[in-house]
């Protein structure tokens, strides 16, 4: 099992590393632009958020958004392509259990999330002096977020039948949820109705936990920042394994 898992992970890492110009560079450029426009130009007019300088305030959100997008993009594109070019049959004819397949692809997504997250953090360090409030909270928040979105990307790939199907969710679901999850603002400034609505957005909890780990400020309880993504991970993993077992869109 370990060798099969290792094989899938190495294959996944080599895949996104081979096309680093498509996978690593664009998020770094986008992040730099975000910081320049929202933080540098507009941030001075906004002032402070939760007692933190606005440019510093948005940094955790920008890093986490990158992690979310990259973890999702890696599994959705990689798994969809293995279906598209039928190379998934290499795994289907082998004795690799479904949970190892899932774990391998998710690990690939998490690794890409980590690599791009580090690259983005490095780029950000040219604009902002970065500090960390708690490495532990930061690491757990990153891991839970990355695993959750890698799983979501995997499920999207199972259902996807065309390249259009793998771009719909990131554009119309993930990005709005990320923006509305407190990436650029604290939900404390929202009217009560919108604040209550934010409680149903799982990204809000992840964003809050990550911000707490980095800046030491948050809008919700820490246990919720860990519990909500954990529950989502359990649910998504169960769904993904069920779909693999049933052979939905992978076996006829």
């Amino acid at each position: 099992m370990w060798i099969a898992y290792q094989t899938i992970v190495v294959k996944e890492i080599l895949r996104f590393a081979r096309i680093w110009v498509q996978t690593i560079v664009p998020p770094v450029v986008t992040t730099s632009l975000y910081l320049l426009i929202f933080g540098g130009l507009m941030g001075e007019r906004i002032g402070h958020m939760q007692g933190i300088d606005y440019l510093h305030f948005i940094v955790p959100g920008i890093i986490l958004m990158t992690v979310i997008m990259q973890s999702y993009a890696n599994t959705v594109s990689s798994f969809f392509l293995t279906k598209y070019n039928h190379s998934f049959e290499e795994l289907l004819v082998s004795p690799v259990p479904n949970w190892v397949i899932l774990l391998g692809f998710v690990s690939g997504g998490v690794t890409r999330g980590l690599c791009v997250g580090i690259a983005v953090t490095f780029a950000i360090s040219f604009f902002v002096e970065l500090g960390v409030y708690s490495y532990g909270i930061l690491a757990v928040s990153f891991l839970l977020t990355s695993v959750m979105f890698a799983l979501a990307g995997f499920i999207n790939a199972i259902f996807a039948k065309s390249f259009d199907d793998i771009s719909i969710v990131p554009t119309f679901v993930l990005l709005p949820l990320t923006y509305l999850g407190g990436m650029f603002y604290s939900i404390d400034i929202l009217p009560s109705f919108w604040r209550s609505l934010s409680a149903f957005n799982p990204i809000f909890y992840m964003m809050d936990g990550f911000r707490l780990g980095m800046l030491g400020v948050g809008s919700t309880e820490l246990y919720l920042a860990f519990l909500v993504p954990l529950a989502m991970i359990a649910l998504l993993a169960a769904v993904a394994l069920y779909l693999l077992k049933k052979g939905v869109n992978t076996k006829t």
Partner: protein, 305 residues
Amino acid sequence: MALALSTSALSKTYSNGFEALKAVDLKVEKGDFFALLGSNGAGKTTAIGIICGLIKSSAGSVEIDGLDQQKHINDVKRKIGLMPQEFNFNPHEPNIEILINQAGYFGINRKEARVRAEDLLKKINLWDRRLEVPQSLSGGMKRRLMLARALMHSPEILILDEPTAGVDVEIRRSMWRFLKQLNEEGLTIILTTHYLEEAESMCRNIAILNEGRIVVQSSMKDLLKKAKHQILILECVESLSENIKIRRCECEVLDEHTLQITLPESMSISDVITKLLLKNITVAHIRSAQNRLENLFLSLTSKES
């Protein structure tokens, strides 16, 4: 003789209602070189897909080396190597990586997998192309790469779905030699092909599928004995008259020196040559107009049958 593969009442109905397999019973002995023939849509690829775990059966069972496929799916998968009909590589992955990864899925570490990959790539003459990607290979090379991939985990049964489709004659013959050698070393091989001369020359046993049913399963020798007639083309030294007749044979003069004779199974070629000699016709060259297996195949799978 122990069985490498057996299926019992294996059936498959697709979601659109198409019955691809209808209670197929198949038996393949260990060490056999077995031909599974059938026209397009007969159910060969579906049967192979079910045996390898790529397609879910609707009913029936599969046993590999005495193991129930459903109960021991992982043990069964370890025993089978599949070379599918369609190319199914990641087109951007280097050829050697494709082989090493496949071995990895079967639990073989990279160091050992690299040794096996080198050995196989050299045997199929692709070692020089190991760092290239499948996209840069010709159709024949891709087929050889798929063959090597199927052999990476040293399976006990090799299933080849149209292995030589689109491959030129020279490479096809070298693949035949390689497969024969593997079979002689004890590997059970199940072959589907549209080249019937390939099946006739290589396989010891045969099953023919037609519209999802097995219409015949026997040894190649016994099946060929059932061929009711064979058609020969004779190149003759003397000029031929229009009305050559040989008892129990159909004769047709194709041109001044070429004669086509359809002879019944009870009659030997030497009988024909003797009879022609009595008519002062000397045969210079002789060849078969049609493959015997092809005739049988057509008669067994035609709508009228």
